[in-house]
Amino acid sequence: METATVTNGASIELEPAVDIPSSCNHYYLNMGPQHPSTHGVLRVLLEMDGEYVVEAQPVLGYGHRMHEKMAEHKTWMAFMPNTGRMDYAAALPYNHGYVSLFERLCGIEVPARAEYIRVITSELNRIVSHHLWLGAFLLDLGAFTPILYTFDDREQVLDILEDVTGSRLTYCYYRVGGVCKDIDDKFVERTRAFIKRQRERFKVYNELVTGNIIFLKRVEGVGIITPEMARRYGVTGPVLRGSGIAYDIRKAEPYSVYDKFDFEIPVGKTGDSLDRYLVRLEEMEQSLRIIEQALDQLPEGPYLGKVPKKLKLPTGDSSFAVEAARGELTYYLVSGGGDIPYRLKIRVPSYSNLSVLPELGKGLLIADLVAAMGSLDLVIPEIDR
């Protein structure tokens, strides 16, 4: 066997990297960057006291991919693939915000059909993202089977989306002025079938997960985010709604054709992990409703409007907020003319959702920290950009 340099079993000679005073019970623990529950490449530096977390300090940047830098060197279309890669779990809302930003800045009309297609596909993508989250969250809680069930459902949507967009994950489907491919009857049919199927699946989720006493005990009262805390941190999306604030960009600043649909904003009461879980489940149902209505109302017409071949951006700045799967996504673009943005600031939802963690994690048990982190629905490369 390979022997270590310290041979007699005592680590007396081993100097610890950090000199923690021996009177201190606390110790440091790296959780991540490679850790099953940090969903990729988040690293949380924990200061622990036994099972309790004294301080949880996320260390970001292990997935930093220079999106903001790249945006400043590319035309809008060339940056398009990047938007789909920031939040790979729900790429279409990112595409949506990005193209809408340019449409807003340059005042480009989008055909109604294109807007409907966007809404349908975005909502499908939101459901996919929630599927992924649901599975991963339960995996964090130690249940392995639900993730296979949700992925099974997810594959159904991915099939539908792949048929129209050509890819399964990192979509690059929308274009300024519309979408790059029309949907057909088969799409409508399959989507309707999916809606029916998904409604039935909710029952399975509820039986297997929601009602389960172990699950409830794991999430009840864990990781409470109060509305006041949410405001200070700028928490968004289902996390915010779980805290009881009914704020949804789709309602607050209706973009695209969201004002034409009848849907509700689910909100929680206590702001614990259970509320966030329930909010997301209900959101899936609401998305299904939106898709249903959109399919019913789907107008005929072109799917790609008239767009100048080379987009000339006016000087000035513009901001566009959309409700991505994880919350408010804001693109803020500063343009100095030409066809390349001068600066594109992307405010991603998980960023602020994660920034709660140091306060949220204080004094939590490590198992609760994992549960709370899972309920925040983090996509790390989105945070790091």
């Binding site: 060339a78 792949e162 009602g211 489940l281």
Partner: protein, 167 residues
């Protein structure tokens, strides 16, 4: 709409929790047991091919034009310019007695491609399309620096050879 329902266990009491918990656990077991006897959903890949949608975006590929027996590319270089990751290199030369340039090199570095579709969309002649290669893997990265003309030739050996002979 408020989602907080009566499922919370708080305040259910000692025996209430026990009763509720036992019931919920049994229901959970029922779900997995029914799943155990349902058919599997797996597509067993190397043995069963799954259907790939015709819209699948594989790496880009030159489109074969049965009329000319080659491709329609006019070596305008639009695709190469549109590509955000500079994966495409197009070269052509003007042969004697021909109006258009003819394609001599069309290389694609697939390892940098992000499958954005710019090249396909910008091509004025529609000479590019996505392939259906969804299951590629190799031992070196150079294997994915494709020479698309070569690939086109291999796909349509006969017609291209005939066309070459005719020239």
């Amino acid at each position: 709409m408020n989602v907080s329902t009566d499922i919370r266990t708080e305040g259910k009491g000692y025996f209430g929790t026990l009763w509720y918990g036992a019931k919920s656990l049994l229901i959970g077991l029922k779900v997995t047991l029914t799943a155990l006897f349902k058919p599997i959903v797996t597509v067993q890949y190397p043995r069963e091919e799954c259907e790939i949608t015709p819209n699948y975006r594989g790496h880009v590929e030159l489109v074969y034009n049965p009329e000319t027996g080659g491709c329609d590319c006019i070596v305008c270089g639009m695709c190469a310019r549109a590509c955000p990751s500079d994966c495409i290199v197009v070269k052509g030369e003007k042969k004697e007695g021909e109006k258009k340039k003819s394609l001599t090199l069309f290389s694609l570095d697939f390892t940098k491609c992000s499958l954005c579709g710019s090249c396909v969309e910008t091509c004025p002649k529609g000479a590019l399309d996505y392939s259906q290669d969804y299951n590629i893997a190799g031992f070196t990265r150079e294997e994915f620096h494709y020479d698309l003309i070569e690939r086109l030739k291999r796909r349509h050996q006969q017609p291209l050879a005939a066309a070459a002979g005719g020239n």
